[in-house]
Protein backbone atom coordinates (compact mmCIF):
# COMPACT_ATOMS: atom_id res chain seq x y z
CA UNK A 1 0.00 0.00 0.00
CA UNK A 2 1.30 3.44 -0.83
CA UNK A 3 1.74 5.58 2.26
CA UNK A 4 1.09 9.22 1.53
CA UNK A 5 3.64 11.64 2.84
CA UNK A 6 2.92 13.65 5.96
CA UNK A 7 2.31 17.34 5.11
CA UNK A 8 5.14 19.65 6.08
CA UNK A 9 4.65 21.92 9.06
CA UNK A 10 4.53 25.67 8.64
CA UNK A 11 6.25 27.31 11.64
CA UNK A 12 4.97 30.79 10.72
CA UNK A 13 1.42 29.55 10.70
CA UNK A 14 1.99 27.74 13.99
CA UNK A 15 3.32 30.93 15.58
CA UNK A 16 0.40 32.97 14.27
CA UNK A 17 -2.15 30.49 15.65
CA UNK A 18 -0.38 30.39 18.99
CA UNK A 19 -0.39 34.17 18.99
CA UNK A 20 -4.16 34.27 18.57
CA UNK A 21 -4.77 31.48 21.08
CA UNK A 22 -2.74 33.24 23.73
CA UNK A 23 -0.21 31.84 26.14
CA UNK A 24 -0.57 28.34 27.52
CA UNK A 25 -2.06 27.99 30.98
CA UNK A 26 0.40 28.76 33.74
CA UNK A 27 1.90 25.87 35.70
CA UNK A 28 0.09 27.08 38.82
CA UNK A 29 -3.28 27.10 37.07
CA UNK A 30 -2.66 23.63 35.63
CA UNK A 31 -1.67 22.40 39.09
CA UNK A 32 -4.92 23.77 40.50
CA UNK A 33 -6.93 22.10 37.74
CA UNK A 34 -5.07 18.83 38.34
CA UNK A 35 -6.03 18.98 42.01
CA UNK A 36 -9.66 19.67 41.14
CA UNK A 37 -9.70 16.64 38.87
CA UNK A 38 -7.99 14.47 41.50
CA UNK A 39 -10.68 15.41 44.03
CA UNK A 40 -13.49 14.64 41.56
CA UNK A 41 -11.82 11.36 40.60
CA UNK A 42 -11.57 10.44 44.29
CA UNK A 43 -15.35 10.79 44.61
CA UNK A 44 -15.86 8.51 41.58
CA UNK A 45 -13.47 5.88 42.94
CA UNK A 46 -15.06 5.97 46.41
CA UNK A 47 -18.51 5.54 44.89
CA UNK A 48 -17.18 2.64 42.82
CA UNK A 49 -15.74 0.97 45.93
CA UNK A 50 -19.04 1.36 47.78
CA UNK A 51 -20.93 0.01 44.80
CA UNK A 52 -18.57 -2.95 44.51
CA UNK A 53 -19.01 -3.78 48.20
CA UNK A 54 -22.78 -3.60 47.92
CA UNK A 55 -22.83 -5.74 44.78
CA UNK A 56 -20.61 -8.28 46.49
CA UNK A 57 -22.94 -8.35 49.47
CA UNK A 58 -25.99 -8.79 47.29
CA UNK A 59 -24.31 -11.57 45.35
CA UNK A 60 -23.34 -13.44 48.47
CA UNK A 61 -26.51 -12.82 50.46
CA UNK A 62 -28.33 -15.56 48.64
CA UNK A 63 -25.54 -18.02 49.24
CA UNK A 64 -25.38 -17.08 52.89
CA UNK A 65 -29.10 -17.67 53.35
CA UNK A 66 -28.74 -20.96 51.53
CA UNK A 67 -25.91 -22.03 53.82
CA UNK A 68 -27.92 -21.10 56.89
CA UNK A 69 -30.86 -23.10 55.63
CA UNK A 70 -28.63 -26.02 54.81
CA UNK A 71 -27.25 -25.93 58.32
CA UNK A 72 -30.80 -26.02 59.68
CA UNK A 73 -31.72 -28.94 57.46
CA UNK A 74 -28.57 -30.82 58.41
CA UNK A 75 -29.25 -30.20 62.06
CA UNK A 76 -32.68 -31.61 61.52
CA UNK A 77 -31.33 -34.65 59.73
CA UNK A 78 -28.32 -35.64 61.81
CA UNK A 79 -28.65 -33.63 64.97
CA UNK A 80 -30.40 -36.49 66.79
CA UNK A 81 -33.13 -35.81 69.28
CA UNK A 82 -36.67 -36.97 69.33
CA UNK A 83 -39.00 -37.06 66.42
CA UNK A 84 -40.92 -34.15 67.85
CA UNK A 85 -37.68 -32.06 68.12
CA UNK A 86 -36.84 -32.85 64.49
CA UNK A 87 -40.32 -31.83 63.67
CA UNK A 88 -39.75 -28.45 65.35
CA UNK A 89 -36.56 -27.80 63.35
CA UNK A 90 -38.25 -28.84 60.18
CA UNK A 91 -41.12 -26.58 61.05
CA UNK A 92 -38.70 -23.60 61.48
CA UNK A 93 -37.07 -24.33 58.14
CA UNK A 94 -40.43 -24.53 56.53
CA UNK A 95 -41.40 -21.17 57.96
CA UNK A 96 -38.28 -19.63 56.41
CA UNK A 97 -38.99 -21.41 53.19
CA UNK A 98 -42.54 -20.18 53.21
CA UNK A 99 -41.48 -16.59 53.71
CA UNK A 100 -38.69 -16.67 51.14
CA UNK A 101 -40.25 -18.65 48.38
CA UNK A 102 -43.70 -17.12 48.92
CA UNK A 103 -45.25 -20.41 48.19
CA UNK A 104 -48.75 -20.64 49.40
CA UNK A 105 -49.71 -24.22 49.49
CA UNK A 106 -52.07 -26.32 51.42
CA UNK A 107 -49.37 -28.93 51.98
CA UNK A 108 -47.31 -28.35 55.15
CA UNK A 109 -43.87 -27.30 54.07
CA UNK A 110 -42.15 -29.06 56.96
CA UNK A 111 -43.30 -32.33 55.58
CA UNK A 112 -42.64 -31.15 52.02
CA UNK A 113 -38.95 -30.61 52.78
CA UNK A 114 -38.68 -33.87 54.60
CA UNK A 115 -40.46 -35.68 51.83
CA UNK A 116 -38.37 -34.06 49.16
CA UNK A 117 -35.18 -35.14 50.86
CA UNK A 118 -36.56 -38.60 51.38
CA UNK A 119 -37.58 -38.70 47.73
CA UNK A 120 -33.97 -38.31 46.71
CA UNK A 121 -33.81 -34.56 45.94
CA UNK A 122 -30.33 -33.20 46.32
CA UNK A 123 -29.63 -30.78 49.14
CA UNK A 124 -28.81 -28.09 46.52
CA UNK A 125 -32.25 -28.50 45.02
CA UNK A 126 -33.82 -28.22 48.45
CA UNK A 127 -31.74 -25.10 49.23
CA UNK A 128 -32.72 -23.49 45.97
CA UNK A 129 -36.33 -24.06 46.82
CA UNK A 130 -35.96 -22.81 50.39
CA UNK A 131 -34.21 -19.56 49.42
CA UNK A 132 -36.47 -18.77 46.55
CA UNK A 133 -35.28 -20.30 43.32
CA UNK A 134 -37.43 -18.71 40.60
CA UNK A 135 -39.16 -22.01 39.95
CA UNK A 136 -39.65 -24.46 42.72
CA UNK A 137 -42.15 -26.53 40.85
CA UNK A 138 -39.95 -29.59 41.23
CA UNK A 139 -40.45 -29.53 44.98
CA UNK A 140 -44.21 -29.57 44.77
CA UNK A 141 -44.02 -32.15 42.04
CA UNK A 142 -41.81 -34.30 44.21
CA UNK A 143 -44.19 -33.93 47.11
CA UNK A 144 -47.24 -34.69 45.03
CA UNK A 145 -45.63 -37.73 43.42
CA UNK A 146 -44.70 -38.96 46.84
Amino acid sequence: MIERREPSRDPRLGRAIRDVEGPALSAARLELLGSRIAAAAGVVLDARRDRAWWEWMTRWARTEVALASAAAILAMGIGGGSASQRGDIASDSAAVATALSRQSTTVGLDSVVTRALAAGASSEQVMNAVVGQPTSEWLLTAAVVR
Binding site: R4, E6, P7, R9, D10, R12, L13, G14, A16, I17, R18, D19, V20, E21, G22, A24, L25, R29, L30, L33, G34, R36, I37, A38, A40, A41, G42, V44, L45, R48, R49
Partner: protein, 210 residues
Protein backbone atom coordinates in the same frame (compact mmCIF):
# COMPACT_ATOMS: atom_id res chain seq x y z
CA UNK B 1 19.51 -5.57 17.69
CA UNK B 2 17.39 -2.57 18.38
CA UNK B 3 16.61 -2.05 22.05
CA UNK B 4 13.34 -0.75 23.42
CA UNK B 5 12.86 2.91 22.55
CA UNK B 6 11.92 5.67 24.98
CA UNK B 7 8.51 5.69 23.35
CA UNK B 8 8.09 1.95 24.07
CA UNK B 9 9.01 2.60 27.69
CA UNK B 10 6.51 5.43 27.88
CA UNK B 11 3.81 3.26 26.34
CA UNK B 12 4.50 0.47 28.82
CA UNK B 13 4.48 2.97 31.64
CA UNK B 14 1.19 4.39 30.47
CA UNK B 15 -0.32 0.93 30.11
CA UNK B 16 0.71 0.22 33.69
CA UNK B 17 -0.94 3.46 34.84
CA UNK B 18 -4.14 2.60 32.98
CA UNK B 19 -4.26 -0.90 34.45
CA UNK B 20 -3.72 0.45 37.94
CA UNK B 21 -6.42 3.06 37.41
CA UNK B 22 -8.74 0.28 36.24
CA UNK B 23 -8.14 -1.41 39.59
CA UNK B 24 -9.11 1.81 41.36
CA UNK B 25 -5.67 3.28 42.06
CA UNK B 26 -6.28 7.02 42.47
CA UNK B 27 -2.58 7.94 42.39
CA UNK B 28 -2.09 6.16 39.06
CA UNK B 29 -5.03 7.99 37.53
CA UNK B 30 -3.71 11.28 38.87
CA UNK B 31 -0.40 10.63 37.09
CA UNK B 32 -2.24 9.82 33.90
CA UNK B 33 -4.23 13.04 34.19
CA UNK B 34 -1.17 15.19 34.76
CA UNK B 35 0.56 13.62 31.79
CA UNK B 36 -2.20 14.80 29.43
CA UNK B 37 -3.49 17.85 31.25
CA UNK B 38 -1.60 20.56 29.37
CA UNK B 39 -2.49 19.40 25.90
CA UNK B 40 -6.05 18.51 26.89
CA UNK B 41 -6.56 22.03 28.20
CA UNK B 42 -5.17 23.54 25.00
CA UNK B 43 -7.52 21.41 22.89
CA UNK B 44 -10.50 22.27 25.09
CA UNK B 45 -9.68 25.96 24.95
CA UNK B 46 -9.50 25.80 21.19
CA UNK B 47 -12.92 24.19 21.12
CA UNK B 48 -14.67 26.45 23.58
CA UNK B 49 -12.85 29.72 23.25
CA UNK B 50 -12.26 30.56 26.90
CA UNK B 51 -10.21 29.20 29.75
CA UNK B 52 -12.99 28.71 32.30
CA UNK B 53 -15.16 26.59 30.03
CA UNK B 54 -12.09 24.71 28.85
CA UNK B 55 -11.13 23.83 32.42
CA UNK B 56 -14.65 22.60 33.16
CA UNK B 57 -14.64 20.50 30.01
CA UNK B 58 -11.25 18.97 30.82
CA UNK B 59 -12.38 18.10 34.33
CA UNK B 60 -15.65 16.57 33.13
CA UNK B 61 -13.84 14.58 30.46
CA UNK B 62 -11.25 13.14 32.83
CA UNK B 63 -13.99 12.15 35.29
CA UNK B 64 -16.03 10.60 32.47
CA UNK B 65 -12.96 8.74 31.26
CA UNK B 66 -12.39 7.34 34.75
CA UNK B 67 -16.00 6.26 34.88
CA UNK B 68 -15.53 4.31 31.63
CA UNK B 69 -11.96 3.18 32.12
CA UNK B 70 -13.00 -0.37 33.00
CA UNK B 71 -14.18 -0.81 29.40
CA UNK B 72 -10.96 0.61 27.91
CA UNK B 73 -8.45 -1.82 26.38
CA UNK B 74 -5.20 -1.06 28.21
CA UNK B 75 -3.17 -2.37 25.26
CA UNK B 76 -4.29 0.62 23.21
CA UNK B 77 -2.98 4.15 23.61
CA UNK B 78 -4.85 6.19 26.18
CA UNK B 79 -4.47 9.59 24.46
CA UNK B 80 -6.55 9.05 21.28
CA UNK B 81 -9.33 7.42 23.29
CA UNK B 82 -9.33 10.25 25.79
CA UNK B 83 -9.11 13.02 23.19
CA UNK B 84 -11.97 11.56 21.26
CA UNK B 85 -14.05 11.67 24.41
CA UNK B 86 -12.93 15.22 25.16
CA UNK B 87 -13.50 16.51 21.64
CA UNK B 88 -16.94 14.95 21.31
CA UNK B 89 -17.95 16.41 24.65
CA UNK B 90 -16.53 19.77 23.59
CA UNK B 91 -18.36 19.80 20.27
CA UNK B 92 -21.60 18.90 22.05
CA UNK B 93 -20.98 21.57 24.65
CA UNK B 94 -20.55 24.15 21.91
CA UNK B 95 -23.95 23.29 20.58
CA UNK B 96 -25.84 22.79 23.81
CA UNK B 97 -24.39 25.18 26.31
CA UNK B 98 -24.51 28.93 26.28
CA UNK B 99 -20.86 29.62 26.67
CA UNK B 100 -19.63 32.33 28.91
CA UNK B 101 -19.04 35.32 26.72
CA UNK B 102 -15.61 34.75 25.34
CA UNK B 103 -14.01 38.11 25.19
CA UNK B 104 -11.29 37.95 22.61
CA UNK B 105 -8.16 38.42 24.60
CA UNK B 106 -6.28 41.43 23.30
CA UNK B 107 -2.66 40.63 23.05
CA UNK B 108 0.27 42.83 22.43
CA UNK B 109 2.06 41.60 19.37
CA UNK B 110 5.76 41.98 19.02
CA UNK B 111 6.24 45.34 17.38
CA UNK B 112 9.81 46.29 18.06
CA UNK B 113 11.01 49.07 15.84
CA UNK B 114 7.63 49.54 14.17
CA UNK B 115 6.08 52.94 13.61
CA UNK B 116 2.55 53.60 14.96
CA UNK B 117 1.21 53.26 11.42
CA UNK B 118 2.94 49.91 10.91
CA UNK B 119 1.69 48.70 14.28
CA UNK B 120 -1.87 49.60 13.34
CA UNK B 121 -1.54 47.82 10.01
CA UNK B 122 -0.14 44.71 11.66
CA UNK B 123 -2.87 44.73 14.28
CA UNK B 124 -5.43 44.84 11.50
CA UNK B 125 -3.84 41.88 9.76
CA UNK B 126 -3.73 39.93 12.99
CA UNK B 127 -7.36 40.71 13.68
CA UNK B 128 -8.14 39.48 10.20
CA UNK B 129 -6.14 36.31 10.87
CA UNK B 130 -7.92 35.76 14.20
CA UNK B 131 -11.26 36.21 12.43
CA UNK B 132 -10.23 33.74 9.73
CA UNK B 133 -9.16 31.23 12.39
CA UNK B 134 -12.43 31.55 14.27
CA UNK B 135 -14.43 31.34 11.05
CA UNK B 136 -13.03 27.87 10.34
CA UNK B 137 -15.34 24.96 11.15
CA UNK B 138 -14.44 23.61 14.63
CA UNK B 139 -12.94 20.35 13.36
CA UNK B 140 -10.86 22.17 10.77
CA UNK B 141 -9.55 24.60 13.35
CA UNK B 142 -8.70 21.72 15.66
CA UNK B 143 -6.90 19.84 12.94
CA UNK B 144 -4.73 22.75 11.86
CA UNK B 145 -3.90 23.75 15.44
CA UNK B 146 -3.16 20.21 16.59
CA UNK B 147 -0.89 19.76 13.59
CA UNK B 148 0.87 23.13 13.47
CA UNK B 149 0.95 24.07 17.15
CA UNK B 150 0.85 20.81 19.12
CA UNK B 151 2.96 18.92 16.61
CA UNK B 152 0.68 15.88 16.40
CA UNK B 153 0.89 13.64 13.34
CA UNK B 154 -2.07 13.25 11.00
CA UNK B 155 -2.47 9.68 12.28
CA UNK B 156 -2.69 10.86 15.88
CA UNK B 157 -5.20 13.55 14.95
CA UNK B 158 -7.24 11.03 12.97
CA UNK B 159 -7.35 8.75 16.02
CA UNK B 160 -8.34 11.56 18.34
CA UNK B 161 -11.09 12.85 16.08
CA UNK B 162 -12.29 9.46 14.93
CA UNK B 163 -11.85 10.30 11.24
CA UNK B 164 -9.57 9.00 8.50
CA UNK B 165 -6.07 10.36 7.83
CA UNK B 166 -7.23 11.48 4.40
CA UNK B 167 -9.98 13.55 5.97
CA UNK B 168 -7.45 15.05 8.38
CA UNK B 169 -5.19 15.98 5.45
CA UNK B 170 -8.11 17.52 3.61
CA UNK B 171 -9.16 19.59 6.66
CA UNK B 172 -5.55 20.65 7.16
CA UNK B 173 -5.16 21.69 3.56
CA UNK B 174 -8.40 23.71 3.57
CA UNK B 175 -7.59 25.42 6.85
CA UNK B 176 -4.07 26.25 5.76
CA UNK B 177 -5.30 27.82 2.55
CA UNK B 178 -7.73 30.11 4.38
CA UNK B 179 -5.24 31.09 7.05
CA UNK B 180 -2.36 31.70 4.68
CA UNK B 181 -4.56 34.02 2.66
CA UNK B 182 -5.27 36.03 5.80
CA UNK B 183 -1.61 36.12 6.77
CA UNK B 184 -0.21 36.88 3.34
CA UNK B 185 -0.12 40.69 3.73
CA UNK B 186 1.77 40.35 7.00
CA UNK B 187 4.31 38.01 5.49
CA UNK B 188 4.68 40.18 2.39
CA UNK B 189 5.21 43.18 4.65
CA UNK B 190 7.86 41.32 6.65
CA UNK B 191 9.58 40.19 3.45
CA UNK B 192 9.55 43.75 2.09
CA UNK B 193 11.07 45.09 5.29
CA UNK B 194 13.72 42.39 5.33
CA UNK B 195 14.61 43.26 1.74
CA UNK B 196 14.85 46.97 2.59
CA UNK B 197 17.12 46.18 5.52
CA UNK B 198 19.40 44.00 3.42
CA UNK B 199 19.48 46.64 0.62
CA UNK B 200 20.40 49.25 3.22
CA UNK B 201 23.21 47.06 4.57
CA UNK B 202 24.55 46.59 1.06
CA UNK B 203 24.51 50.34 0.44
CA UNK B 204 26.33 50.99 3.69
CA UNK B 205 28.91 48.30 2.89
CA UNK B 206 29.27 49.64 -0.67
CA UNK B 207 29.74 53.19 0.61
CA UNK B 208 32.35 52.21 3.18
CA UNK B 209 34.41 50.34 0.59
CA UNK B 210 34.89 53.50 -1.45
Amino acid sequence: MVGPSASDATDADERDLVERAQRGDAAAYDMLVRRHLGRATAVARRLLGNIEDAEDLVQESFVRALDRIATFDANRAFAPWFYRLLINAGLNARKARALRAAEPEQREFASRGASPLEMTERQEIRDRFAAALHALPPRQRLVVAMFEVDGLSTAEIADALGISRETVRWHHHQARQSLRKALEPLWNDAARRAKHASDGDREVRGGSSL
